[in-house]
């Protein structure tokens, strides 16, 4: 199969890590002047495939050809030399250096051995100009927004070498709609210049906006490559999840009957709660036996809200009362004693203690509430661990397994268990289902509804609107670090999406 438009051809790529086969016989091809979306759930093998292409990982088997020529990519430097450039999700630039340096460093123009600053700045401006951006390149990068930083990263990728392949790894996750549109313009422009773009994202809309073709990976296996025009969204989702359509339908139907909205006691009430630079004053009341969903984009203030209520940050205005008592001192430890719990957004950094066992992770918060000297004996610890491993369906051979060895979904369940053990009145879940497989997702949603039935009050924060809609009685919409609306009862996703986007 020869295709003279073919830029990159990866065939039979296999890569195993100790214990897992990350990639198994993957085929991937990229044409000149094409935007090719690489799709798959977390753990599908997208990032490993990119790492193989960029020389960060070396495949066990398989070949890579660039414009028909077999190549061995041994290091990131070499892949750059071949004209393959990557822009990552987190901007991988040095924020303390100037914009110009960030674009040109590594290929800086020199005069008599020293950096020719004037020329360097001019070249940087030129590189940004190619993307239609005009800014003061002598300022340090940290003075600019993430969106601009992303553009700078692309400018760097293009300026540094004769780029043939541009890889964009989740570039839009921290951009707003306008910024995303601007990025897409740039992408189309580059496509017109004959550059092949590999686009990784989890936003389906965006794929349908810009991508020409889609390749789907699942569990390290190649599923297929499709023309965007000929694959419907539902089909795409079904391919990614590896389920047939009726299965998906069943998940959507998992909406458990919501307990009738009785006049439950108010367990938490925030009045004008806010923190300068973090969250504008917010009013919120929370009743026992109710799920309040929080919808909003990344950076809308939803995580900040969770942090304030849980006491990670102390508010500088307003008040918070729990069970009628005004909170005076804010700290997770105080919250724990008051019966507030938070499953944080960043599971790895803020949730799990990886080198400790499942048992130790589960009893951590309970033990913290008991204090430094009251001891939970080992036998009791094992009982609790066994009970919750069973209750939440944590898949592990033993409670002594280190948490870092578990899958994302099971780690999330361990953290949930840690908090449920303490029997909180208020449970805040910040993105509890992010990056975990569909099965675990549904289990966690069911668990949430069970807890509510027992009278817990839950704040449910999620980027997945459909999920928020399904399990919440009330929905709070946040935008620009403010609460912009609160909906109760029937509301459709269109309304909420427009509120989130701010065009209503």
């Amino acid at each position: 199969m020869t295709d003279d438009r073919e830029l990159v051809a990866m065939r039979g790529i296999t890569k195993a890590f100790p214990g897992v086969v990350a990639l198994e016989d993957i085929t991937f091809s990229l044409r000149k002047g094409e935007i090719h979306a690489l799709m798959g759930e977390n753990g599908a093998g997208k990032s490993t495939l990119i790492k193989v292409l960029t020389g960060v990982e070396h495949p066990d088997r398989g070949t890579i050809a660039l414009e028909g020529k077999q190549v061995q990519v041994r290091s990131p430097q070499q892949s750059q030399a071949l004209g393959i450039s990557t822009v990552y999700q987190e901007v991988n630039l040095c924020t303390n250096l100037s914009v110009a340096e960030n674009i040109m460093l590594g290929r800086e123009p020199r005069r008599l051995g020293s950096i020719h600053w004037k020329k360097l700045n001019a070249l940087a401006e030129q590189a940004l100009g190619r993307l239609g951006i005009d800014l003061d390149v002598t300022q340090p990068l940290e003075n600019y927004s993430v969106a601009i930083q992303q553009m700078v990263a692309i400018a760097r990728a293009l300026a540094i070498l004769a780029v043939r392949v541009l890889i964009l790894d989740e570039p839009t996750s921290s951009l707003d709609m306008q910024e995303t549109a601007r990025l897409f313009d740039v992408m189309r422009k580059l496509k017109g210049e004959g550059i092949g773009i590999i686009f990784i994202t989890h936003f389906l809309d965006q794929v349908y906006q810009v991508a020409d073709r889609i390749t789907v990976l699942r569990n390290g296996k190649y599923i297929g490559t499709y023309d965007t025009a000929s694959l419907s969204r539902v089909e795409l989702v079904a391919t990614m999840l590896g389920r047939n359509l009726s299965d998906l339908h069943a998940v959507a139907q998992a909406k458990v009957e919501i307990a009738p909205k009785a006049a439950h006691a108010c367990v938490a009430e925030a009045k004008g709660l806010g923190l300068k630079g973090s969250l504008a004053a917010i009013d919120l009341s929370l009743n026992a036996g109710e799920v309040v969903g929080v919808a909003g984009l990344l950076g809308s203030g939803r995580t900040e809200l969770a942090r304030l209520i849980f006491g990670v940050d102390a508010p500088d205005s307003g008040s918070l009362s729990i069970d009628g008592q005004k909170v005076e001192r804010f700290s997770p430890h105080e919250s724990l004693k008051r019966g507030i719990a938070l499953c944080p957004e960043d599971r790895k950094a803020e949730g799990i203690v990886g080198e400790l066992s499942i048992r130790e992770n589960i009893i951590l918060a309970l033990q913290a509430r008991y204090g430094w000297f009251k001891v939970l004996n080992t036998q009791k610890q094992y009982e609790i661990a066994a009970q919750y491993i069973k209750l939440l369906g944590i898949r592990t051979p033993s409670p002594d397994q280190l948490v870092k060895n578990l899958s994302g979904g099971n780690q999330q369940k361990v953290i949930l268990a840690r908090w449920i053990v303490t029997q909180p009145h208020v449970l805040i879940l910040d993105e509890p289902t992010r990056g975990i497989d569909v099965g675990a997702k549904v289990e966690i949603q069911k668990l949430v509804l069970d807890l509510v039935k027992e009278g817990m009050a839950i704040i449910f924060i999620s980027s997945e609107l459909e999920e928020v809609l399904r399990i919440s009685q009330r929905i709070l919409v946040m935008r620009d670090r403010k609460k912009v609306a609160e909906y109760a009862g029937d509301v459709n996703d269109q309304t909420i999406m427009h509120t989130m986007a701010g065009d209503l």
Partner: protein, 358 residues
Amino acid sequence: MNAPPPLKRIRESRLFWPLAALFIILLFDAIFVPSFFKIGVQDGHLYGNLIDVVNNGAPLMLVAIGMTMVIATGGVDLSVGAVIAISAAMGAVLINPALGDRLITNDILTKDATNTPLVIIVIANLLAGTLCGLWNGMLVSRARIQPMVATLILMVAGRGIAQLITNGQIMTIYYTPYFWFGNGFILGLPVSVYIVALVFIVASLIVRRTPIGLFVEAVGINPKATFYAGISEKNIKLMAYAFCGFCSAIAGLILSSYVHSADGNNNGLNYELDAILAVVMGGTLMSGGRFSLFGSIIGALVIWTFTLSMYALGVPDKALLAGRAVLVLIVILLYSDQSRRLLSRLFDRKGARHGATH
């Protein structure tokens, strides 16, 4: 094939390396300095090189116990040597019979007496060290200064403080009861051994019978997650540094009692490196997390067995500094991820070949 083979289990045990090192040094002694193992009885108590190892090594073992806690929280305490000096200076100043006496003559200064009760002296010793530890802990946990920098400040300024306390002099101690801590014997064994045993047992009980050990490990592994779990990660750190200061203070007490003097410049010199070495050798990772108090004790014993073996061979004290530095290097390299990976690959390949031949 499910359980790891016994050889691998032994090799991966925390105590494998320190015990192996101890064994090698003792083997070396058995061949080259056989007199090293001689233990005699004099005046009803034991003496000999092996007794010296535990007696001279006692301060280091104590400091290593404290340092283990600090390192387990992901920090480090470079000020232990200076804290030893401060504690020693505190003791010497309070013992000084001229304290509060306006008429200072030489025979008052060198009198075998003190105006301060021994209990008060000991308490002041320990309190001074603990306060230093608290100070470090405050800088690290509250002011959020990197542990290395925060304790470096006291490492240098602390020696100044010790000199300030003794007014820049090397103070000789003449008060006999004070010598008991470093030179006394109970049932034939040095008092310092009992002190170490007591501190070790109490510390082990505290960290293993209460959740404190778990909290310390959690803080060392992931401080943020620990904080989110409702544990006051700040107080855990504060406690660890204070405890380390406390242990260093006891070490200062024993050391000044052993050498009969307090010298701001030289008491506890180089203890920071030795203590870190002992802890790392004992299997506690510098990055924090899982720790072993017993391993650190073994580590300290290895260092002192090595040192005294070299003395027995006639190597001067100051020249040993370079030797110990090389020892640190070897241990660090052995424990680094790179060499571990290399080693286990080497062993595994051997194991695989074995399997193939069968």
